[in-house]
């Protein structure tokens, strides 16, 4: 009897266990079947070429929609509703042959090892895993086109950038795109367009904006988020793009143009170059191959291999209203079509056959007049505040004064990304400099990659013999290895200084590093009496790093495109340093009552290089501003007549430029004053002026409708390596 009862219990227990297991299996299978519901996903791009395409449900996209294969995070095996074979049958066809109560399970081994994605709550989690084929067909990606419309008035540019996202896949996606903007761009407007509806984004503290975005994304709302990773690197995320649908993101920003030797320069960066991150770099910018694993902290940029391409292209139109006669126009990296509207105005358009976004757009235009009058622009806000920007040109009389003997230090980046044309151009520039030194100058040469190496323990007199030795040192240099720029900085600034001479340190680099904060902190700490003159070499240099090095180093910066001669750029540099700078500059506003002026201490004035000051005015009245400074031990004064009555109060962007310059100065200080309230100050300026910053972001949510499911798979937009940069030496496989 006992055994009978025991048997019944065992039987019942077995039955219970079986039923429970069955219940769990059925429940789990329903979790796997509807593709958009899984928490962690990745996209296998290789399958996009292999699978028979499934038409997008909304039928908006004319092209066949590549399907997304899900893989279970952390496992090489995945359960998908689709076959693992290369020639995969349409899952719809497969399922149509089954009875309603039937289930189809297909066990697939992923072609790539699936990797743990970052925490799902992090925007951008997931990955575009692979495209290992060498197909000539463009890869389907969610960014179709970028349109840039810029307008220049005086020396302030107003730029509208529209990124056109779409979903070429058969399932809902989140698009994540890391892209560059000028480092001084004041991004102060953000629009998300869904069909004919436009939703203006709201500026919020970054953590708050990210939280809003995550929650909207998880609830199926179309949402977008713009964050700043560096002053010149941004991430755009667009959640819940349904198959076949399109969403446009419009970003508006202002920035001041640079000016050197009679030429204004407008610059629009198109791609972020691959960065080298030394160990322990916080928040790195990591270049990676398209199929490499995700999960690295920081910002990851997937790069296309040389044979790969996408359909993403760019159009750019620029209107220039110089205010004075334009004598010459030059597009440095691109073919353009230009039209002169009048002596002072022109329209420039990127040629349609030069629309691959793999190099900076650089337009220089020469304006009439050997010496420009210092130019004032003002803007009066609705609250009655007067903001101004003032471009101060150096006095002509500086040209008549000879320079002092110099100690010149040439610091050459010989890391892998400089391989090829950038290194050869840099060598050419240094050769020119060596051959144009004066006998009473001294010099030093330092090269750095994984470490740094000096030509000599101390600076050498510019004798024929020493110059020959230096030329041999330069010629023997080849590129390779990482970019331990910190070693180059220390080697350049921390060796015994020649007290008899003014030390000018020239860095020749593409600036492809991810530890900018560490580098800039070191520049501030070790600068001493040196002045830094940076030379950015390449088609897409890290201008944030080089501009800031020059600013903190109290010097200047010049850029050398791939098709320019190194000796020409160095020749301009020699012209500049052949005359003394106006140093220890102070400003008497002469009753103008200017406040909140940035930069708060005026930089040195070099021949051919104006400075831009910005601030607030309590009262707008005509006066004469007086700048005083030291030249060769003597005090010199420059008088700048300011006629506010001539300046329109409606110059758009002046307020945004002021706020951006204030943030730049606070950010510089936060590099070497970490335990301060500077982040809070930056945050407040950005919130008050609607600006994106490292602490503030734009977020936009369409709350009026929800897409089905929680949220889609994240797809990172892959980009080409910049023109002139070798994939093999810069991108981590």
């Amino acid at each position: 009897m006992k055994s009978h009862h025991l048997f019944k219990r065992v039987l019942l227990a077995s039955l219970t266990l079986s039923l429970c297991l069955l219940a769990i299996v059925i429940g789990c299978s329903q979790a796997i079947r509807p593709q958009p519901q899984a928490a962690d996903r990745s996209i296998d791009s290789a399958s996009q070429h292999h699978q028979q395409a499934r038409p997008a449900p909304s039928a908006v996209a004319p092209a066949p929609a590549p399907a997304i294969t899900e893989s279970v995070t952390g496992s090489a095996n995945s359960l998908t509703p689709e076959s693992h074979k290369e020639s995969r049958p349409d899952p719809d066809t497969l399922t149509s042959s089954l009875a309603p109560e039937d289930e189809l399970w297909v066990i697939q081994k992923s072609p790539m090892t699936a990797c743990p994605a970052p925490e799902d709550s992090v925007p951008g989690a997931g990955a575009l895993l692979a495209n290992t084929s060498q197909s000539k067909e463009p890869l389907p990606i969610p960014l179709k086109h970028t349109d840039v419309k810029a307008s220049i008035a005086g020396y302030i540019a107003t730029v509208d950038v529209t990124q056109q996202y779409h979903n070429p896949f058969s399932e809902k996606i989140e698009a994540v795109y890391v892209f560059p903007l000028p480092a001084n761009a004041a991004v102060n407007d953000f629009l998300m367009t869904i069909g004919t509806r436009k939703i203006r984004g709201i500026i919020r503290e970054r953590a708050e904006a990210e939280k809003i975005y995550r929650e909207a994304r998880s609830q199926g709302h179309v949402a977008s988020l713009l964050t700043q990773e560096r002053p010149n690197i941004f991430t755009q995320s667009v959640a819940n793009i349904e198959p076949g649908k399109e969403i446009d993101i419009n970003i508006k920003y202002f920035h001041t143009l640079s000016y050197a030797d009679g030429w204004y320069e407008y610059h629009f960066p198109m791609v972020v170059g691959p960065r080298f991150n030394p160990p322990e770099t916080p928040d790195p910018i990591t270049p990676k191959a398209l199929e490499s694993p995700v999960g690295t902290p920081g910002t990851q940029i997937p790069y296309l291999k040389p044979a790969e391409r996408t359909g993403h292209d760019i159009s750019l139109a620029l209107h220039v209203d110089a205010g004075v006669a334009i004598e010459d126009l030059q597009s440095i990296n691109h073919r353009v079509e230009s039209k002169r509207n009048s002596a002072t105005s022109a329209d420039i358009k990127l040629a349609s056959d030069d629309s691959i976004p793999n190099k900076d757009f650089v337009l220089r235009y020469k304006v009439a007049g050997g010496t420009l009058k210092s130019a004032l622009m003002t803007q009066r806000t609705e609250k009655g505040e007067n903001y101004f920007t003032l471009m101060v040109y150096p006095p002509e009389s500086l040209n008549d004064l000879p320079r002092q003997p110099l100690e010149m230090v040439f610091t050459l980046d010989v890391s892998g990304s400089m391989d090829g044309a950038p290194l050869e151009q840099s060598k050419s520039a240094i050769r020119y400099a060596l051959s144009h030194m004066r006998p009473d100058d001294t010099f030093q040469i330092i090269r750095f990659a994984n470490g740094a190496e000096r030509l000599s323990p101390q600076s050498l007199p510019a004798t024929q013999n020493n110059i020959r030795q230096a030329l041999t040192f330069i010629e023997s240099t080849s590129a390779g290895g990482g970019t331990s720029m910190i070693e180059g900085i220390r080697a350049s600034l921390n060796f015994p200084h020649d007290e008899q001479r003014l030390r000018f340190v020239s860095f020749l680099t593409d600036g492809y590093i991810g530890n900018e904060a560490e580098i800039l902190r070191e520049v501030h700490t070790s600068l001493g009496p040196s002045r830094i003159f940076s030379f950015g070499v390449g088609s897409s240099t890290n201008r944030y790093l080089l501009d800031t090095m020059a600013r903190l180093g109290k010097g200047a910066v010049a850029y050398l495109a791939l098709n320019e001669k190194g000796e020409d750029v160095m020749s301009h540099f020699f012209d500049r340093i052949s005359h003394p700078a106006l140093t220890n500059v102070s400003i008497d506003w002469n009753g103008l009552d200017a406040t909140d002026v940035y930069p708060s201490s005026a930089p040195d004035l070099f021949v051919g290089r104006p400075i831009i000051l910005t601030g607030k005015l309590k009262e707008a009245k005509d006066t004469t501003i007086r700048l005083t400074g030291k030249v060769g031990g003597q005090t010199k004064e420059i008088q700048i007549p300011v006629r506010l009555s001539d300046s329109s109060n409606a110059n758009p962007g002046v307020t945004a430029v002021w706020a951006r310059m204030k943030i730049a100065q606070l950010s510089d200080r936060s590099l070497y004053e970490p335990a301060s309230d500077l982040p809070a100050q930056i945050r407040q300026v950005a919130l008050d002026h609607n600006l994106v910053s490292q602490f503030t972001s734009f977020v936009a949510v369409d709350s009026s409708s929800r897409t089905a499911g929680d949220h889609g798979t994240s797809v990172a937009v892959p980009v080409p390596v910049p023109a002139g940069v070798r994939y093999e030496t810069t991108v981590r496989e």
Binding site: L19, A23, I26, G27, S218, Q219, S703
Partner: protein, 150 residues
Amino acid sequence: MRRMLTGTVVLFLVCFASARESATSPSTTPTSSFGYVDLFVDSGAKPLAAYQIELVISNNAAQVVGIEGGDAGAFSEPPYYDPAAMSQSRVIVAAFSTRTELPSHKLRIARVHLQFHASDRHYEAKLITAATTDGTRIDASASVSEGAQP
């Protein structure tokens, strides 16, 4: 025996329900929901060329996550907001139109997208100003209404 079988079936149903629920729940549990309010201006018979409205949400029950334009026509573009006046639950929006054909009477001039933090929500739309093309102030009124959640 019957009791045991009943217990087994109940256990089966509980297991099934629990497995099914864990499979279909969103990966991120929503902590709050999203919705919107529409803002209206009634300018009577006068053509409306510009407006400025303050929207106040009581008790921090919601925060603004996007601003959309109103009905098609003069105010279909999203209005601008004053960032310095923006707080968790307050926003001032403003727009003007240069069109020759301007609307009159009651018009939906904007949709404000919100993230809700509480179910007890009250809104107030305060008209700061409304004007005609030549800048003349109009004696108008503003109102707000919450839209249906999707």
